[in-house]
Symmetry: C2
Subunit: 281 residues, 2 copies
DNA sequence: CTGAAAGCGCTAACAA
DNA sequence: TTGTTAGCGCTTTCAG
């Protein structure tokens, strides 16, 4: 592997100059820049990211902290995050960190100095990982929200907008809204439609009522379960692929503009028709 | 962040000694080892992986090269790979590389010196990425196989075993085997059951025949599609979660025992009953 | 068994 | 505009 030293020698300049053209950090005459650039091309030079990171105190690596056991969030989330990281002009790397919910593990990992920041998946209302990252002084972005997300970089589902779309769908079918959020143990018989956010509960309800004849169900979540159900559930699909990319983008924005706190990015679910919603009888 | 220097000072030894206990690379008196270890504990010392990597010429980071656009392989694959990497006693990191099928991009990435090896997903029979990695001299493991996999570290689906299970299932229902591999344009009417490996083709067949009354279909692949189909497909599910971990394990084994070439790990699909297979009429 | 010292490949003052 | 040089934090000979 060729090093800056080799390039410098071949171009007849100092290694500092090579670094300057590499990073565009100081003015260099077009002529010398040319010489350096062709030397790099001829040698097939690739800058060693490790050495760069050590010297520059910035690794351009970010971590995606995901649940240790797969919660079935779908590969789109991860691949979109991975693409977003590499897509930037100068390219970040994304490492995967399977971590528990207590903050110890993630604290240990950031202590290793490998990453410039962390994207945290499946954030809880009270989240020890968030505390650990704050304590360590590591920049991070949340996918989801803690109880008090103000002050944290975060991206999440736009629930308000999503609910609006969901209600619109149900009302279009002729259902009338009522306020009954929460976990009612038993569904009053006058209810003609429900919006469900919980897998298990959804299947529970489906055993008690004839869907969609007696009850329409609109399910918020990922398609896996919705597809398997019988009848196939009408789904408000979480924008997984989009959130992954947005989270990474927000974090990188922050890293490159230390002052700024990127505004929260909220993205709605999209309605995917199924057979679990219909006109009320 | 505390450094070896801080630890050495506090323990009253040289930084070399600290390194020796850190890596267990030279004998150290229990007494001094103790002093060093408590110094590390007191300072909350974490070894900087970058500096270690640069000096030791080994990063303990491996890359998972995945298709740039999500092919719906499921998150289990990636999370199991990520867990396998971190699980080892001394912990590897896994970075994600979305790459095209031509070898340029991956060649560029390994040139950066960030990783000790690469796990390659969705390997093709003729694969430019494999050539690029070979040329670069980077250790790698394949998920899948090239036309001639001998000499490459690889893990894959055990097709032989899987087919045996599949045939067993169909014969148990009363179908009789015939040899008709390939892509027959039209299905002879005497055929009572097929094993399908291709999404599109499967749906094509389903529009032409009544399933499972006229034709039983056994589908090899991932559950996403199988679940959505009507009737729900009987599935031979690819062992994604297992292969991810096996691939990483094989690569790390190789990295830590430069001589050895880990034997190919083949793992069969598992049969998941659906409604697309039945007794022939 | 322990320490001194020379790097790993690069960045970034500071000088020239 | 370019070069000299001192690190970044660690590993690893080579002496002692």
């Amino acid at each position: 592997m060729a090093t800056v030293r080799d390039v410098a020698e071949r171009a007849g300049v100092s290694i500092a100059t090579v670094s300057f053209v590499l990073n565009n950090t100081k003015p260099v005459t077009p002529a010398t820049r040319d010489r350096v650039e062709s030397a790099m091309a001829e040698l097939g030079y690739h800058r060693n990211v490790l050495a760069r990171a050590l010297a520059a105190r910035s690794t351009r690596i970010i971590a995606l902290a995901h649940p240790r056991l797969d919660t079935g969030f779908g590969s789109e989330f991860i691949t979109s995050a991975s693409r977003a990281a590499r897509a930037r002009a100068r390219g970040y790397h994304l490492v995967l960190w399977p971590v528990d919910n207590d903050g110890d593990e993630i604290g240990e990992l950031v202590g290793q100095g490998l990453v410039d920041g962390v994207v945290l998946m499946e954030v809880l209302l009270e989240d020890a990982r968030v505390d650990a990252l704050s304590a360590a002084g590591t920049p991070f972005a949340l996918i989801g929200r803690t109880a008090d997300p103000a002050g944290f970089i975060h991206v999440d589902i736009d629930f308000e907008q999503s609910i609006a779309v969901a209600l619109d769908h149900l009302q279009g079918l002729g259902h009338r809204p009522t306020v009954a959020a929460g976990r009612a143990l038993r569904l009053p018989s006058r209810i003609t439609a429900v919006i469900m956010m919980n897998e298990l509960a959804t299947f529970g309800v489906m055993t008690e009522r004839v869907v969609p004849d007696d009850l329409s169900i609109l399910y918020f979540g990922t398609p896996g379960l919705a597809a398997i159900a019988n009848p196939q559930l009408t789904l408000m699909r979480a924008p997984a692929a989009i959130l992954g990319g947005l989270g990474v983008d927000a974090l990188i924005d922050h890293l490159e503009t230390p002052g700024a706190l990127p505004a929260p990015q909220l993205h709605p679910c999209t309605l995917e028709p199924g057979a679990s919603t219909a006109r009320p009888r």
